[in-house]
Symmetry: C2
Subunit: 209 residues, 2 copies
Amino acid sequence: MKQTKVISKAVIKRLPRYRRYLGELKKRGVEKISSKDLSELIGYTASQIRQDLNNFGGFGQQGYGYSVENLYNEISNILGLNKEYKTVVVGYGRLGQAMASYIEKNEKQFSIAGIFDVSDKVENEVFKGTQVHAFNDLKAFIRDNGVEVAVITVPRDKGQVVADTLVEAGIKGIWNFSSVDLELPDNVCVENVHMSDSLHALAYYMKDK
Amino acid sequence: MKQTKVISKAVIKRLPRYRRYLGELKKRGVEKISSKDLSELIGYTASQIRQDLNNFGGFGQQGYGYSVENLYNEISNILGLNKEYKTVVVGYGRLGQAMASYIEKNEKQFSIAGIFDVSDKVENEVFKGTQVHAFNDLKAFIRDNGVEVAVITVPRDKGQVVADTLVEAGIKGIWNFSSVDLELPDNVCVENVHMSDSLHALAYYMKDK
DNA sequence: TAGATTGTTAATCGATTAACAATC
DNA sequence: TAGATTGTTAATCGATTAACAATC
């Protein structure tokens, strides 16, 4: 499964966006699209779209364009969205609940196996059909259930402790909402959602308007 | 207030991160730091750090380094975090509540003036001291209270309608969690938090590990 | 003063765009 | 076949890194 050619991060960050727009087109019943038309829709140049896609293979047909359905599927495969990931949410506050219910509703590839909270008081609660467990059971749960992905929605100061536990348990990927940059071994992947960075960039944009 | 020199988006995206680390250092009582030491901490090259900062002015001192406190303040100013932004949250679901309480707690520069919901049933509820209003009152509220920033936490299909209303009311910046790319006039700033894009990038990283 | 470290220019690297031959 | 549009190479552009003179 190793990629022979290294794909730049810029390209990877664009892939989910392609997929999102292609999903829309598919839903609207559009069958084919040219890089030019997709360009107008998505806001990248046609040239860039073709470059990006050709990192992974020739998915189009000269003189015709791209099959929307086919391209959607290819990109889904490239992203690894052709399998299911058992997922836990760690942190049963408002954000944890929001993310658990978002995933349940919108991300079919990620199935919520359990929710965990650092405080033990919420133990044995059930959130939308998912059991809430105590943090102490996290490690065993991940191992016993083959959980690959964890969503961290605990406050800043607990982020690293939670991450350490997840790593010990053999987690493969972490979706991190905890506002700290986690120290992780190389074999664990992380995607950070730094709320404050995003909001502060907005403040900057507003300045010279 | 117009920036004479155009600053690239890559630089802007790094500024909040600088500020975050400098804030940490300040809290720990560190008084000065060299670009080399900051580099090791933050993970950008020392050269890049000096380049980035010198887009805005010479904040350091040869042979010494940068004053942590001073640099923190300078970056805060650059980002526009030296003033207060009246803010509304539109969408009173779990995510809306999570973001309202996050902002209240962590983002002193953004003061939550009101929360709005598309359904009218939550009207006159109070969330952590903030009044929840009906969507119908949004436009007038923004105008009457000089609200500059709106956080959109409604589902995908309502995103554009909400944005249109905000624009009509004269909003200046939108922090968008609604998973659609909003159509906005040029004078309105937007920062998108596309949850699914972020999660799907994580899936990609996990593939060849 | 000597040492350290910035500010800034120049060199390199990588990513985007343009161009066009291949081909459906 | 003619027209359209891809795949891919070459040219351009921009961002990062290296180097070093300025100076505290």
